[in-house]
Symmetry: C3
Subunit: 337 residues, 3 copies
């Protein structure tokens, strides 16, 4: 598996209602279902003839296959085989279960070594005094690590998002402190003036100095925090789910606190967020197609201002291979923004 083991978002809680729901998470088709005990996930395949269980229906708290009516409980146990004289329940007739749970408005599925699903999914941060949360989502034709690097990459904002976010003029020299441990890496930017683009002007019309942290947490989280004085905070948590090779679902939870009324901020974040997102989705898809044209091999040349990308790639690669992570470290980088 090219992906790090751990918890990934399978769907939004509000997508999973009475009917079973089929999703592909890290190459594995799963059916999500909800019964009185909560959320469950099974391999999306009836062990009988291979029908997707997500084509079936919930009846009496059990999932009934649409083809021959075999019934399964949330744990995958086979509860009934219509037409069969005698007991249905046998081990080989069970649907394969996956660990699943629900938190922060999402249903999560654990991918990888099912024997010991580590702890809990990533918890969304609580922003004190937040005015609200805006959620966006998009499917991108890209590998998860390319999408994660893109989210946490400062230099591209001046070009791909020219005018919208940063100017690309590169007039300010900024000090960056970088930390990497066994499961995460982060970059803290010191002394960056408020970005000149549309979004910066909106959040902080009178300028100022931004405190800014970019963070990656295994297996799938990218987090960006902006703070300006005491009033203004913007925390964007990006929860990414690889669907299959070259295809990733991105979910973005944006919490904000500003001086601007929420009734204005909310639509502004919606519009600008979608705009930024569309630019990234288009660029990442171009990179993915190009990697395929060049034989499917990524040959990257990085410089020291590719601050987090190479490290989050190394963390994912070692976790996916079951190897020990690279050693923890801290260092400093200078960057013009």
């Amino acid at each position: 598996m090219p992906w790090a083991p751990g918890w990934y978002v399978a769907c939004r809680s509000d997508e999973l209602r009475a009917a079973p729901l089929g999703r592909v998470v890290a190459g594995v088709p799963v059916v999500l279902l909800r019964d009185e005990a909560g959320v469950h996930a099974l391999e999306d395949r009836c062990p009988h003839r291979g029908m997707p269980l997500s084509a079936g229906r919930m009846t009496g708290g059990e999932l009934e296959c649409a083809y021959h009516g075999w019934r399964f409980g949330g744990s995958g146990a086979c509860r009934a085989i219509p037409g069969l004289v005698g007991d249905a329940q046998r081990l080989e007739r069970a649907a394969t279960p996956h660990s699943a749970c629900e938190s922060d408005g999402f249903a999560w599925v654990h991918v990888g070594d099912e024997a010991s699903p580590r702890a809990q999914p990533f918890a969304l941060p609580v922003v004190e005094g937040a005015q609200g949360r805006v959620d966006l989502e998009a499917v991108v034709e890209a590998e998860i690590e390319d999408a994660l690097e893109n989210i946490l990459d400062v230099p591209h904002t001046g070009f791909l998002h020219r005018g919208l976010f940063r100017s690309g003029a590169g007039r300010n020299e900024v000090d960056v402190e970088v930390r990497r441990d066994a499961t995460s890496c982060e970059a803290e930017f010191h002394g960056e003036p408020r970005p000149e683009g549309l979004l910066g002007r909106l959040l902080a019309p009178r300028g100022g100095v931004v405190r800014h942290v970019d963070r990656f947490v295994l297996p799938c989280v990218a987090q960006v925090e902006y703070a300006l004085g005491e009033d203004t905070r913007l925390v964007v948590t990006h929860l990414l789910t690889p669907i299959e090779r070259g295809r990733t679902m991105m979910r973005h939870a944006i919490s904000f606190r500003t001086r601007v009324p929420a009734a204005l901020m909310r639509p502004a974040i919606h519009v600008l967020g979608r705009w930024l997102l569309a630019q990234d989705v288009r660029a990442l898809a171009r990179v993915t197609r190009n990697d395929a044209l060049f034989g499917g091999v990524q040959r990257h040349v990085s410089t020291k201002i590719d601050i987090l990308g190479p490290h989050l790639r190394a963390l994912i690669r070692s976790a996916a291979a079951g190897m020990p992570p690279p050693p923890s470290a801290t260092w400093r980088v200078r960057l013009m923004t």
Copy 2:
């Protein structure tokens, strides 16, 4: 080849008129043509530059290639090469022939060991006093053995065709006698009350007990016979043709004799037949897509009420591999319908 050798339907007789007709049968593109001697089949490829011969035309009882005008007889012999000074006919210039014949309104092609095409194609049964025959056809995205099992499988009718065919309630215990020999297997159902669905009510409004036989005959025939008293008979012969992996052409010849006037039965069978067929086509396509998602390997868990499926699969598999068939046998199964 994943398919059993033998005769397969290539097209309906009424599709093959003056023009040559290209069809893919068991992965082999063939061109069908009709001359004074009858129906012929050639590999659909001009030996000269690989043009499909089905793009050509019949002229003077010969098939003329659309690209350079090479001409072939029904046996594949090259009869003319325009522009060439001298005789055209040479062995290496011949188009490869396939055994072909015509019966019961279909043109058949023999697939597999051409040296000894066994006997004749399957002959459609004659239903005494039949009121008529309805023909249906559909392409299904499925392997031929999945489609054959689906046709001969009783338990799915209560779920996939709920209400239309059987109810799925499973109130009646039915005795089934199963027989398997070297080239076929069949199941005879004893004491089944007339099914409760729409189709059963139509055929036998006053109920009764059904005599019912399901039968598979190598390489491609599934047959279903229903009888109710002396008046009512329904014999459906399904002739399946694998096109390529995961794609099968199904042709259904439905002969019937009922108390209901033919003028009513015919449209009713048409409408209900198409309805049933559409449900099966959709379900089989889902299974095929799901098998592909799960790595292209079918892992089935069968129970004893999967009466014919595992046996027809074994018959096809051993015939395709040129192995001896599984030994003949008879046994009994109990099934709730």
Copy 3:
């Protein structure tokens, strides 16, 4: 590489303006750009994160990547990395260059051994007293050698282009002199009466005897010359560019001198040329699809009237493999037209 090394047309000169232009030539994505020094070609991939450079823009005579703003000169050297403190230029940050040049209204790229791009691209012939030149182009789903053989093949004209070009009747016996050397092969037709089709009648309403030469020149040129008396000449130079396996760009430069006014000839050549071209494109696509259906292997049976095809295939195959060409030779063939 299945293609012979050498110069191939990448685009028309008038397609390459201020913006960089992405094209795939012989499986290699290249970006073409024009600066004060002329035309340049680079691998269409930013060495940083794999973005196609053709998505970028020209600024200050340099190509700026759309993703992070890296800048490259026409030689591929990296000139700037926005955000980076210090010098950008390092060898591993350069984009890979390809030899490129401009002539006869086309931008050419050299494919294969970059160490020694041989000499110059093929020069279009000058037709003395030409009334004009008509350019046509089309993408064909075919291998380059199939398209080249088709262009230089006389016998197909009577069938695929029946009526339009030759009649297919085969009444005239024509003597053909064939020559092959290390980089080209050609066929000279003696004593062919003016073809009976629409095009022949248009060019030479009063008939006569045609001088006619068909020629292939490595790696990608097919040339057809017709002369009728002193007045009428038609020289068609076909410049073919393999895009990828099974897909070829064809460019046709048609120079003509006739008794008919240019104002009539030009639209007539346009219309008839497109018509002929569409027939060839359709036929070649059918052959390509059929080759794929038959396992991707071309098994051709040739006769002596397949005059140039087998020889141009041998020239391409040996050049692509870096083997010595077949020995030079001359011979004669008789052909009925």
